[in-house]
């Protein structure tokens, strides 16, 4: 092994550890933030006793979970029962490897630091593949528990994942067609280096608003968050697939859920909101302009905005019924995604500019809405 290869290997390991630690800390404080924000939306205060403003609450929760008894049902399949939460967490963490948190490598003290763990040319495929693996953790956990409710939750989860993976895929293919690359670094560069009006750049949410909406809806369903949290519907299934889990094994499922939220938020940021891009200023004019133009802080800001939206949705909406869930997935999201994909494909073939995509997609939406209004069945009151 050459010295350079060794250096690269060490750098990747260090970055992977840093990303994991950051994600797990982020998870801990998201639980705190979620409880505080949901509390405020319900006119309550939320956890405010442990430490200043309750900031040590995640630490207290962690200690509690660590020291809790690890229960296991008598008839459970021990190997799979232990393996399932590990799959969930490992898969959730490894999905983050391909997310770029800045545009270009940074030169600090003579070291060329790349702001991503890995930059494969098939980053988007890797993300989709890895995020589908996450359901194995859920379904194995639900099955190995030997509990009816856990199994029902797991089955719901797999049905939901299959239904929404398609919509998620079609929603992501449209912007990727415009970029012409599966590499997330290319996606970011395309959005930041070209202008919206003159070329095919600009944040892709401007050119692909429908795809963004579809992606976000499918993503919420993909990470099993309210209002799509049928796999862990407390009122119907106990706690769904993690009914029989306690202590640190439960905490791993919990971590996986939040890390998945971070991942889909980051993908939404990267693909639709220009990733680490900030204000349109000339970055060569000094450090301040460089920081205003792009950087990890912009990336974090956008990701945390999406995390807030997750919490906001959870505080607002009641859970969907299962037939409603399936209807939204198959009869609304998927057809709309396919039509949107068709319009985008035509645009790419005709080499439209970004604003032409916006016009086309929005007129497609208006056409569909007016068609559906014309086709409205008579209402009986």
């Amino acid at each position: 092994m050459t010295l350079e290869a060794l250096g690269f290997f060490v750098a990747v390991v260090i970055k992977a550890v840093l990303f994991s630690v950051a994600l797990l800390t982020g998870f801990a404080y998201m639980t705190y933030g979620e409880r505080r924000i949901v509390a405020r939306m319900q006119w309550r205060v939320g956890p405010n006793k442990v430490g200043p403003w309750g900031l040590l609450q995640p630490a207290a929760d962690g200690i509690k979970l660590l020291f809790k008894e690890q229960l296991q049902p008598k008839e459970a399949k021990t190997f799979l029962f232990v393996l399932a939460p590990m799959i969930s967490l490992v898969v959730a963490l490894s999905a983050y490897a391909v997310i770029p948190i800045d545009k270009d490598p940074v030169n600090i003290f003579g070291f060329n630091i790349e702001p991503w763990v890995a930059n494969p040319s098939i980053a988007m495929l890797y993300l989709l593949g890895i995020s589908s693996l996450g359901v194995y953790g859920i379904i194995l956990g639900g099955w190995a528990s030997n509990n009816k409710y856990a199994l029902l939750g797991a089955i719901r989860s797999s049905a939901q994942l299959i239904s929404y993976e398609l919509a998620l895929g079609t929603a992501l293919v449209s912007p990727l067609l415009m970029v012409g690359s599966l590499s997330l670094r290319d996606v970011v560069a395309q959005q930041l280096d070209h202008s919206y009006l003159n070329g095919d750049g600009g944040w892709l949410i401007l050119a692909q608003p429908v795809a963004f909406f579809l992606y976000w809806t499918a993503a919420v369903a993909e990470v099993n968050r309210a209002p799509f949290d049928l796999p862990e519907a407390e009122q119907e299934l106990g706690a769904g697939y993690h009914t029989e889990y306690s202590g640190m094994k439960f905490a791993m499922f919990f971590m996986a859920e939040y890390v998945n939220m971070f991942t889909v938020s980051s993908v939404a940021t990267t693909v639709f909101l220009g990733g680490p891009g900030g204000l349109p200023v000339d970055e060569t004019q000094g450090l301040v302009y460089r920081l205003l133009a792009h950087g990890p802080h912009w990336f974090l800001l956008k990701v945390y905005f999406f995390m807030f939206v997750f919490i906001w949705l959870r505080a607002t909406f009641p859970r969907f019924r299962f037939d409603q869930l399936m209807r939204i997935g198959w009869q609304f999201l998927l057809p709309l995604g396919l039509i949107n994909l068709g319009v985008t494909a035509v645009g790419v073939a005709m080499q439209w500019k970004s604003y032409q995509f916006t016009i086309a997609v929005m007129s497609m939406l208006v056409t569909l809405v007016s068609l559906s209004l014309l086709n409205r069945k008579p209402q009986h009151h």
Partner: protein, 192 residues
């Protein structure tokens, strides 16, 4: 599809409601630091009252013990003597025990009392680690020497409720007396 569009509009409305409510001040009263003002007629822990000269109001008549539906009160009366004039009448309560675990806080004892000696007051922080600690005796029930209050007796006196609606500050017998429920008044458009 048109149903879906209608649903989407409804979703937007829902989101705006939660967002507006997030900017509201919480109604929570963070308990150990801040305590809410109870209405004057709140039936909490019992208090035995004294006259201004320090003598006990309780004359050991056993009416409260008799009326108590839960059998929570136990009294042993004793004669007052000229050198030991504990209460105003002929007898006084030598032993006055209340079992707070049996008591249902109905207030019949204070209604039965002919001398306004026992009242239920605003102390609702009643908790203990043992059953014995929740069986309280005369020493804990009596108000301290030198004080002479009537407690909630005044609150139960019929008094015309004030007509002008105002903020409930605990001085009235109930928040309904000032024209509102138990919740503090809020600004308009708070989501309900």
């Amino acid at each position: 599809m048109d149903e879906v569009i209608k649903d989407l509009i409804a979703l937007g409305k829902g989101l705006s409601i939660t967002f507006r409510n997030m900017l509201q001040k919480p109604v929570t009263i963070t308990y150990p630091e801040n305590k809410r003002k109870f209405p004057a007629r709140t039936r909490g822990r019992h208090v035995l009252h004294r006259y201004e000269d320090g003598r006990e109001r309780c004359v050991g008549c056993l009416l409260c013990q008799g009326t108590c539906p839960a059998g929570a009160i136990y009294i042993e009366p004793a004669e007052n003597t000229s050198d030991n004039q504990v209460s105003a009448g002929e007898r006084h309560a030598k032993v006055f025990d209340v079992d707070l675990l049996r008591c249902i806080y109905c207030g019949h004892c204070e209604l039965a009392c002919p001398t306004n000696a026992i009242t239920l007051e605003n102390n609702t922080a009643i908790a203990g680690y043992t059953r014995e600690s929740l069986l309280i005796h005369k020493e804990e029930l009596l108000e301290p020497k030198g004080t002479s209050t009537l407690g909630s007796t005044q609150a139960w006196d019929p008094k015309p409720p004030s007509t002008a609606p105002k903020e409930f500050d605990g001085s009235e017998t109930s928040s309904a007396a000032v024209g509102q429920g138990n919740r503090p008044s809020r600004t308009k458009g708070a989501g309900h």
